[in-house]
């Protein structure tokens, strides 16, 4: 049986019919057309699907769309448009913190989450906070450098 859900996606209210088995990540990509968040492993391991639901980062592949009924969902598109992650994006660009870019949307959301909740995280704390996000290209060093630069407020 389909359920009707209403949620706020990047500030816009949307209502749709969904099957219970539909994951939030697939709902956003396929029904709303927001393909910035990626579906990688689809079992919670890689972090490519990281989204923000009611202000907290979550795995989009481990949440059903029907569970997001009544929630506020923010994706990399929303955080880019609002300029909330502009400094992070610039730092990622300048440090070569992305190559293929598959992990980047999830990485940006995890990094922004740390910036919002921690004053001046150490490199170790940065590494811990992005421990759930795989990058198969960069070797992480440049990603940690980019995040560190933003948290140290040098831009």
């Amino acid at each position: 049986m389909e359920h009707s859900i209403t949620l706020v996606v990047n500030g816009t209210k949307v209502s749709r019919q969904v099957e219970p088995r539909e994951h939030l990540i697939d709902f956003l990509r396929e029904k709303i057309g927001l393909t910035g968040s990626h579906a990688g492993c689809e079992h919670g391991v890689c972090g490519a699907c990281t989204l923000r639901v009611d202000g907290q980062i979550v795995r989009g592949c481990l949440m059903l769309a029907v569970q997001a009924n009544g929630c506020r969902v923010d994706t990399v598109e929303g955080l880019s448009d609002s300029k909330e992650i502009a400094k992070l994006q610039k730092a990622f660009h300048e440090h070569n913190a992305l190559q293929c870019g598959f992990c980047t949307p999830g990485m940006l959301l995890a990094a922004q989450d740390l910036i919002l909740q921690s004053e001046k995280p150490t490199r170790e704390e940065i590494r811990n906070h992005i421990s759930g996000n795989y990058c198969r290209c960069t070797g992480y060093q440049a990603i940690v450098d980019a995040i560190e630069e933003v948290v140290n407020g040098s831009r």
Partner: protein, 257 residues
């Protein structure tokens, strides 16, 4: 990697939840951080998911006369942020930092972790080390089970079809208690290769057998001798490696002031 079809219900009250759980093919959905991967990989295909996250009776952390009571729906992130836990259940406060990654900690719950009983999970070992009590309800009654008797085997607990774990009660730490939580992982937030939850004389290993392994503290040598001879190997670590690493953690705990 898509789940098979199922029906979904989000009850607003316990009676409504218990009525739905009468269906033998129904499954409880809490944070979904273990169940949804299993559905995605089609290791499990229930007819109905009963989403318990709307049940207020299962939420919240409170200070009781002799314990800290943590509702089943409390997330890992909420436990980590809780002052009461830090003050009265220091072992759990140390352990929670090792549970999964940020995005998973925001949704995964203590009730889900205890009900799942993964042998490498942190909470079951802490619950046994602290001699905690699990509070379980069905539609008619409530019963209380000591952690040591709750964990029966690999992903196997004392919970029966139609029952819900509603809360867990951790005894309050006393002055002079010694709590040490240690674990070894390849990467922060991964399930432990092996871990140790030690509270005074009770030393409980995780990742060493199909359920938490409780040893009574004697001399270091005698305690070490009680470690299982041939712990089951995992994908990357042989039985001998696991036993060796368990000994390393025991020594570290010994030397922790």
């Amino acid at each position: 990697m898509k789940a098979a079809a199922f029906a979904y219900l989000k009850p607003a009250s316990l009676p409504e939840a218990f009525a739905a759980l009468v269906n033998p093919h129904a499954k409880v959905l809490a944070g979904g951080q273990s169940l949804i991967p299993a559905l995605n990989m089609r290791l499990s295909s229930p007819e109905l998911l009963v989403d318990i996250t709307g049940l207020p009776d299962l939420a919240g952390i409170s200070l009781q006369a002799h314990s800290i009571k943590i509702g089943a729906l409390t997330t890992h992130a909420q436990i980590e942020a809780c002052e009461l836990v830090r003050k009265h259940v220091p072992l759990l406060a140390q352990a929670v930092r090792h549970v999964a990654h940020a995005a998973i900690r925001n949704r995964g719950t203590i009730g889900g972790s205890l009900a799942l009983a993964d042998p490498a999970a942190e909470y079951p070992a802490c619950a046994v080390a602290l001699d905690s009590v699990l509070v379980i309800r069905n539609k008619a009654t409530e019963r209380r089970v000591k952690a040591e008797r709750f964990f029966k085997g690999l992903f196997e607990t004392d919970l029966k079809q139609g029952e819900l774990l509603v809360a867990v009660e951790f005894p309050l730490a006393k002055a002079g208690d010694k709590s040490v939580f240690l674990e070894l992982t390849r990467r922060h937030g991964d399930y432990a290769i092996v871990g140790l939850a030690a509270h005074n004389e009770r030393m409980v290993f995780l990742g060493l057998d199909s359920k938490p392994v409780l040893l009574q503290k004697k001399t270091l040598r005698q305690t070490k001798d009680q470690l299982p001879r041939n712990p089951p190997a995992d994908l990357y670590h042989s039985s001998a490696t696991k036993r060796h690493l368990a000994g390393v953690l025991l020594e570290r705990a010994w030397n922790t002031p």
